[in-house]
């Protein structure tokens, strides 16, 4: 950091379940340089003012998905959000919305992890192949059908943005549905029908009220709203076909 640094006020939502009845704001004056991220601001506070400030972080380059938080009320990755863009105003950082707070900026993600596990996020081979047979072939068209939905870093910013998840924590939610869609669209996979039950279930896509804020905050342009939308159509078609076909709609 250069000598003639500026000072920014960072307001942090603090909460320690062992000593606080409820979350409260504390303000820290942090010297910063133009290259400093909001994450580095939080690290400065922890290193110099209060070692008990708690937040998740690791890679610093927007790929590990750890450091999401509300920054002036908007879900963002703190490692790729810069203090200079808020200065000279005060900046407020809070735990991600819609999740229970465990401590300070750390939220309980166990529900999200269970949702990821529930969607069968792995290839269930359409045509099993041995290693000796080599790789599956995928044409550029087949590849492009799913690749965008592989980019999710599980940062859960889309859940912090989703009003419906806020109302119904059981909603599978944007990221998990995008991942489900990723496997459904993969030419190697043959289990879309198995996954359909969940898509159409009470926790499924019809919770979505098509606000689209999830895609807006997605740092990796996965466009989960699109995945949810496509699956609404698929589920509706599937439902309709069930009445027409004695074998059921899912093929």
């Amino acid at each position: 950091m250069s000598e003639n640094h500026k000072i920014i006020e960072i307001e942090v939502l603090r909460y320690n379940p062992e000593s606080d009845d409820e979350p409260h704001l504390e303000v820290y004056k942090v010297p910063f340089s133009d290259d400093m991220s909001v994450l580095q601001g939080a690290q400065y506070i922890k290193d110099n003012f209060d070692g008990s400030l708690t937040f998740r972080w690791s890679c610093r380059m927007a790929i590990c998905g750890s450091c999401g938080m509300m920054i002036n009320g908007i879900p963002k990755l703190s490692c790729e959000t810069f203090l200079r863009d808020y200065y000279p105003s005060r900046i407020r950082i809070e735990a991600m919305a819609n999740f229970p707070i465990e401590k300070d900026l750390v939220v309980d993600l166990s529900g999200f992890i269970e949702k990821l596990e529930s969607i069968q996020p792995y290839i269930i081979a359409k045509e099993p192949r041995t290693l000796e047979q080599g790789e599956y072939l995928q044409t550029p068209e087949e590849f492009n059908r799913y690749i965008q939905f592989t980019s999710c870093i599980n940062c859960t910013l889309c859940y912090a943005a989703c009003p419906q998840f806020g109302l119904n924590p059981d909603f599978i939610g944007p990221a998990a549905i995008a991942l489900l869609h990723r496997y459904n669209m993969d030419s190697r996979d043959g289990a879309a029908a198995q996954r359909m039950e969940l898509v159409a279930s009470e926790e499924g896509v019809f919770n979505c009220s098509a606000v689209g804020y999830c895609s807006e905050v997605c740092p990796k342009h996965v466009d989960p709203a699109n995945a949810v939308n496509i699956n609404k159509t698929n589920a509706a078609k599937d439902y309709f076909l069930r009445f027409l076909s004695p074998k059921g709609g899912s093929k």
Partner: protein
């Protein structure tokens, strides 16, 4: 204290740990697997690997070529029998990952594509754009969900190994969310905790890369091997150290100095070819490229940037925006977001940064350590494929190949091991809990964690950087001894149980200081220059007579490590001059002729 009985416990949920877990589950579904990770597995630092994973793919390539690139690239400090196994298994494991859904980039006809990488004679780096590690990690994590026998301990922090009857028999962990301790009993323990590069200042690494597993094994008497070999990646973002993948050069990027001159041609990597040529110029190995930067800086030919310091330019402009967006999308975004640059229009300022620990927990070809029941894989281990310098894209493949080997070996061991004495293990675990709790509850400390950490990182950079000298290395050894003393007076602000990262960071710092000492003392003991260990104090040359040897650092409680030299396994490649560019081609030719 909660007790969990497993057959195999794996510490670390990155690429290696996940691959091992799947291997155990597939080899015997009846075995109970505990997978411990201090972060959710998909946060592990495998996620940040960019360029790709090496494995022979093209008809013009061969295992023999991959072997010689690796052994020569490692300056002949590799275990050659292990490298032979590695190169043969590489394509099998990469294909397996394809079957599990990894979105490898493809050619137009639908096959997996490969790209060029530094020090590799033929294109053999499988890649998923420039997010190869991310895709490998998520594919493995998601695939692991398929196996009910894998029980994950996410956000659990390992504080010690349990050792009884001369065998490793489990671990003690803290649940980070509650601060509660658990004992996990297991006949086989696999350490897969990744590297230790955060002991340095400017690094490409995530905050979690603190050498935990290395320190744990080391404290239990297992050697840390070849710890002086620390890789500086030549193209990192100044100040933050964030990585611009070697694939930037694999795709055809240039490195130029302040005169716009491709300076690598002055450092045994030329002459300048008409078009990108494997093992020439920017496609040389990382150690040589980082060393060339050092000399450019000495000569005053680097660019002096007001806030970024000394840099050179990584020039990708000639590749065009469309190609960059397709092949290097992450790099494109990072340049835009973090540096405010458009790599299709602006050259990117870069400099070397710490990236990888070639050394680690000494294990044999089955990934078994000297302590029975203990295994190690991935960057925390030294199975012997990297030698004195790792070639880019060999480490992602290593996670897969040796993750599987360790999983199979650990499963076999667990099936045949005698049951442990639970009561006695619990007693040990309780003593460990008391010791670790004492660090948190003690009062009156005055040393801040961040203060000691900063001084450690600075002294490592000063003494164990790209070039090394006796007196600065000695100063680093002395400083680390001082910091070890001062650590005893550490102050921890947070006394709570829930999510106490202040306390856990202190435990990590304790690990880091041990690992840093093993690096500095191994370095000062190696009186030669080889691979990533380069000296400028009278030991500028490789000395095969005295130092064609592994360094093995043994823990000495309260003191400096004991360094012992160990033999290197040589099968079919006798040490020769390590050359690249035209000189390398000539040496290759001579080797071929002498083999005829």
């Amino acid at each position: 204290m909660e007790i969990f009985k497993a057959d195999v416990v794996i510490v670390g949920g990155g690429g290696a740990g996940l691959r091992a877990a799947i291997a155990v589950a597939e080899s015997d579904p009846a075995l109970k697997i505990a997978l411990v990770s201090k972060v959710y597995p998909m946060r592990s630092h495998t996620v940040a690997a960019e360029g790709g994973a090496a494995g022979v793919k093209k008809p013009s390539d061969s295992f023999d070529y991959h072997f010689h690139d690796t052994v020569g690239g490692g300056d002949w400090l590799c275990e050659q029998d292990v490298v032979e196994y590695f190169v043969e298994q590489a394509p099998v494991e990469l294909t397996q990952l394809e079957h599990w859904g990894c979105p490898w980039s493809r050619t137009e006809d639908g096959h997996v594509n490969v790209r060029a990488f530094g020090g590799m004679k033929i294109e053999r780096t499988w890649f998923a754009a420039d997010k190869s590690g991310f895709h490998i990690l998520h594919t493995l994590f998601q695939t692991s969900i398929k196996y009910p026998s894998i029980k994950r301990f996410d956000e659990h922090f390992c504080v010690d190994l349990l050792e009884e009857d001369g065998r490793c028999q489990g671990v003690v962990v803290i649940e980070m969310g509650t601060g509660e301790f658990s004992m996990i009993e297991a006949a086989s323990v696999i350490i897969a905790t990744g590297g230790a590069g955060r002991v340095f200042r400017e690094s490409t690494l995530g905050g979690i890369v603190t050498g935990d597993g290395m320190a744990l094994a080391y404290r239990h008497g297992v050697a840390l091997r070849d710890m002086e070999f620390v890789q500086y990646h030549p193209t990192c973002m100044p100040v933050t150290g964030l990585l611009f993948t070697e694939a930037c050069r694999g795709e055809g990027g240039f490195l130029v100095n302040k005169d716009g001159y491709r300076y690598l041609q002055d450092y045994g990597l030329g002459p300048l070819p008409d078009k990108p040529k494997n093992k020439y110029m920017e496609l040389g190995p990382r150690d040589r490229l980082s060393q060339a930067f050092f000399f450019e800086q000495q000569k005053g030919r680097t660019i002096e940037h007001p806030t970024l310091g000394s840099v050179v330019h990584l020039d990708l402009r000639h590749l065009g925006e469309a190609h960059l967006r397709e092949r290097l999308p992450l790099i494109y975004e990072m340049a835009e977001t973090f540096m405010g640059l458009d790599p299709a229009k602006d050259p990117i300022p870069v400099r070397p940064g710490v990236h990888y620990t070639m050394g680690g927990i000494k294990v044999d070809g089955n990934c078994a350590a000297s302590l029975p029941g203990l295994y190690a894989i991935g960057e925390c281990s030294s199975v012997g494929i990297h030698g004195a310098n790792r070639l880019g894209s060999n480490s992602l493949t290593e996670l897969l190949v040796f993750g599987k080997v360790a999983g199979v070996a650990a499963a076999k061991n667990a099936r045949s091991a005698a049951p442990g004495n639970s009561a006695s293990l619990l007693k040990q675990a309780q003593a460990i809990e008391q010791r670790v709790m004492a660090l948190k509850t003690r009062t009156g400390g005055t040393e801040r964690i961040a203060g000691i950490r900063k001084e450690m990182a600075q002294t490592m950079e000063d003494g164990c950087g790209i070039y090394r000298m006796q007196d600065t290395m000695q100063a680093t050894c002395d400083k680390l001894a001082e910091l070890r003393e001062r650590f005893k007076n550490i102050s921890i602000d947070d006394k709570s149980s829930v999510w106490n990262t202040d306390w856990l960071t202190a435990i990590e710092l304790d690990y880091q200081l041990d690992v840093a000492q093993s690096m500095a003392h191994s370095a000062i003991n190696r009186k030669e220059s080889r691979g990533a260990h380069q000296r400028l104090d009278g030991y500028e040359l490789r000395d095969d007579v005295a130092f064609l040897k592994h360094s093995e650092a043994y823990y000495v409680a309260g003191g400096a490590p004991r360094i012992v030299l160990g033999d290197v396994k040589i099968t079919k490649s006798q040490p020769a001059a390590r050359a690249y560019g035209a000189a390398g081609e000539k040496a290759d030719q001579e080797r071929k002729e002498s083999n005829v």
